[in-house]
C-alpha cells in the first residue's frame, strides 16, 4: 500500500511540477500562432522526456550513482568538462528566466515592476532549499503546481473540435511562416526536455533510496507522470489556440498570454494565470538551483544531499547558494523573461546531444546498469531525435534571429 501511495504521489507531483516558464510560453506561442498544428511536437517532446527520465531513474537505481557522477566516472573529466560547462551555463540561463517568470507573475497581480520582485523571490527559493528536505521540496512543488491544471480545465471548457485536435497530432508542413513554425518545434522540445531534469531526477532517486525492487515504480511514475504533465502543456496550447489564435494575437509578453484565460475564468483570469505561472516558475527555480548544487558536488566528489542538515554538506550548500545569487543578480538587471526563456529553451536543443549521447552509452554499459540495459529501438530513437533536433536547431535559430520565414 505504501508503494502504491508513493506511486500515486509521484504521478500527481509530476503533473504539478511539469509546466514552468518555458513550457507555458512556448505552448502558448505555438497555439496563438499556429492553432492546434503543433500538438504533435508537444506529444513527441513529452515522450522523449518520459523515456529519458525513466532511464535516469534506472541508472541511479542500478548503479547507485547520479547521471553527473556516472558521466565523470565513465568518460573522465576532459570529456565531462564540455557537457558540464554547457549544462551549468544553460541551467543558469534557465534559472534566471524562471526567477523572471515568477517576478512577472507577481507583477500581473500587483502592477509593480517585475525587477522589484526578483530578490524577494530568490530569497524565498533559497529559504525553502535551506530548511526543507528533498521530499518536502519535491512534493510541495508538485502539489502546489496542481494549480496549473487550470490550463486543462480551460481547454476542456472551451470545447475544442475533436477532429481538429486529432489533426494536430499528425506532423504537417505549415501553411505560413515556416521558419517560425520550425523554431517553435525546436523551442517546444527544448522547453520540455530540459537537461537539468535528468540529473535532478537521478539525484532524487538516490535521495529517496529507491532500490531494484521498485524499478517498476520508477517506470510507472515517469511514464504516467510525464504523460499527464504533457496533457497540461497541451492544455496551454489548446486554450491559447482557441482564444488567441482567431484574433491573430502574437504573444510578446506573459501579460498577453494571460488573456487566454479570460473567456473561461472571467475576472479571475489574470489571478489564476499569475498563480499558475508563479508556482510553476518557483518550482522550476527550486529544482534548477538544487540540481546545480547536486551537479557540482557529484562531479567533484563532495558530500551532498537535501535530506541532511545544510551544515553537514557545506560545499554543496554553498554551491547552490552561490549559483542562486548569480542568477538573481543577472535577472535583476531586467532582461525580458520571455525572451530569455525563448533563448534558453532553443539553445537546449543545440546542446542536447552533448548530454543525451553519453547518457545512452551509460545506459548500455553493464558496469553501470548491469542487466537493465536499453533496448536498441529506444537507443536509436533517442539518438536520432537528439542529433536531428540539434542539426535542425542549428539551422532554424539563426534564421529566426535574422527574421526569416
Amino acid at each position: 500500500m505504501g508503494v502504491l501511495a508513493d506511486l500515486a504521489l509521484g504521478v500527481v507531483t509530476s503533473i504539478g511540477g511539469f509546466v514552468e516558464a518555458g513550457s507555458i510560453s512556448t505552448s502558448a506561442q505555438a497555439g496563438a500562432e499556429f492553432g492546434f498544428e503543433l500538438l504533435w511536437a508537444v506529444a513527441i517532446a513529452g515522450a522523449m522526456l518520459a523515456m529519458l527520465t525513466e532511464m535516469s531513474g534506472r541508472l541511479a537505481i542500478m548503479s547507485r550513482r547520479s547521471l553527473a557522477a556516472a558521466i565523470r566516472e565513465r568518460f573522465g573529466i576532459h570529456f565531462h568538462l564540455v557537457p558540464l560547462t554547457a549544462e551549468l551555463v544553460l541551467d543558469l540561463l534557465l534559472l534566471t528566466a524562471e526567477l523572471g517568470g515568477a517576478a512577472i507573475a507577481i507583477t500581473l497581480l500587483t502592477g509593480i515592476d517585475f525587477r522589484w520582485w526578483i530578490v524577494p523571490i530568490a530569497v524565498l527559493v533559497w529559504a525553502v532549499l535551506w530548511v526543507s528536505g528533498f521530499a518536502v521540496i519535491e512534493d510541495g512543488i508538485g502539489l502546489l503546481g496542481l494549480v496549473t491544471l487550470a490550463f486543462v480545465v480551460a481547454a476542456l471548457k472551451m470545447g475544442p473540435n475533436v477532429h481538429d485536435l486529432a489533426r494536430g497530432f499528425v506532423p504537417s508542413l505549415p501553411g505560413h511562416h515556416a521558419v517560425r513554425y520550425a523554431f517553435l518545434v525546436v523551442s517546444i522540445i527544448g522547453a520540455t526536455v530540459s537537461p537539468y531534469l535528468l540529473n535532478f531526477y537521478s539525484s532524487g532517486t538516490l535521495e529517496e533510496g529507491m532500490t531494484r525492487k521498485v524499478l517498476w515504480a520508477n517506470t510507472a511514475t515517469t511514464y504516467a507522470g510525464n504523460m499527464f504533465g504533457t496533457g497540461v502543456s497541451m492544455g496551454v496550447l489548446i486554450t491559447s489556440a482557441m482564444v488567441l489564435h482567431p484574433g491573430g494575437v502574437e504573444i510578446q509578453s506573459f501579460d498577453t498570454a494571460a488573456r487566454m484565460f479570460a473567456p473561461v475564468f472571467g475576472p479571475w483570469a489574470t489571478t489564476l494565470f499569475a498563480l499558475a505561472l508563479g508556482v510553476g516558475c518557483v518550482g522550476a527555480a527550486l529544482e534548477i538551483t538544487l540540481n546545480m548544487g547536486y551537479l557540482l558536488a557529484q562531479v567533484f566528489g563532495w558530500s551532498w544531499g537535501a535530506n541532511r542538515p545544510r551544515g553537514d554538506h557545506a560545499r554543496f550548500s554553498c554551491a547552490f547558494t552561490i549559483v542562486l545569487v548569480i542568477a538573481a543578480a543577472v535577472a535583476a538587471i531586467g532582461f525580458d523573461p520571455l525572451r530569455l526563456t525563448t533563448l534558453a529553451v532553443a539553445l537546449t536543443v543545440v546542446i542536447m546531444p552533448l548530454m543525451v549521447l553519453p547518457f545512452l552509452v551509460l545506459m548500455n554499459d553493464t558496469k553501470f546498469v548491469k542487466d537493465r540495459t536499453n533496448s536498441s529501438v529506444g537507443n536509436a530513437a533517442l539518438a536520432l531525435l537528439t542529433v536531428l533536433g540539434a542539426l535542425f536547431a542549428l539551422v532554424v535559430i539563426p534564421l529566426e534571429i535574422l527574421g526569416g520565414g
Partner: protein, 119 residues
C-alpha cells in the same frame, strides 16, 4: 585492475564512508626492467586543474590561495592506504584529520552560523 576505468575519476571515501573527493590524478612510478606501477592517487581542485592543463592548474592554485582556501588543494594518498576498490575507493584515512578538510571546516563554520542550517 584498469587504471583509467577503475581508479581515475572514481569517488574516494575515508574509512568512515565520508566522501573525500574523486581520484583526480593517478601517480605512476616508472621502473627500469619492470612494468610501471601505481603508487598513489591525488585528490583536490589543484590536482584536477593540473590534470586538465598546466595553465589551469596554475590559475586554480592562485585563486584558491587568494581566497584563503589554498591549504589541502592537492592531497596524495598512497596505494598502501587503500582499503577497498569497488565502485568507490575506500582509504584508511580520516577525512577530518586531513588538510583537505580545512575548506570544509571553514565553510561549515559559515554555513552553520546561518539559521536553519543545523535542522
Amino acid at each position: 585492475m584498469h587504471i583509467v576505468r577503475d581508479l581515475l575519476d572514481t569517488a574516494v571515501v575515508d574509512r568512515n564512508g565520508h566522501p573525500m573527493g574523486r581520484a583526480d590524478r593517478v601517480v605512476v612510478e616508472c621502473r627500469e626492467h619492470a612494468p610501471p606501477r601505481v603508487i598513489a592517487i591525488e585528490i583536490g581542485p589543484g590536482a584536477l586543474a593540473a590534470r586538465v592543463g598546466r595553465r589551469s592548474g596554475y590559475w586554480i592554485a592562485w585563486l584558491l590561495n587568494a581566497i584563503g582556501f589554498g591549504e589541502g588543494q592537492r592531497m596524495r594518498i598512497g596505494v598502501r592506504q587503500f582499503l577497498r576498490v569497488t565502485d568507490r575507493i575506500t582509504v584508511d584515512v580520516s577525512f577530518r584529520d586531513t588538510a583537505a578538510a580545512t575548506v570544509e571546516r571553514k565553510l561549515q563554520a559559515v554555513v552553520r552560523s546561518i539559521p536553519g542550517a543545523r535542522s
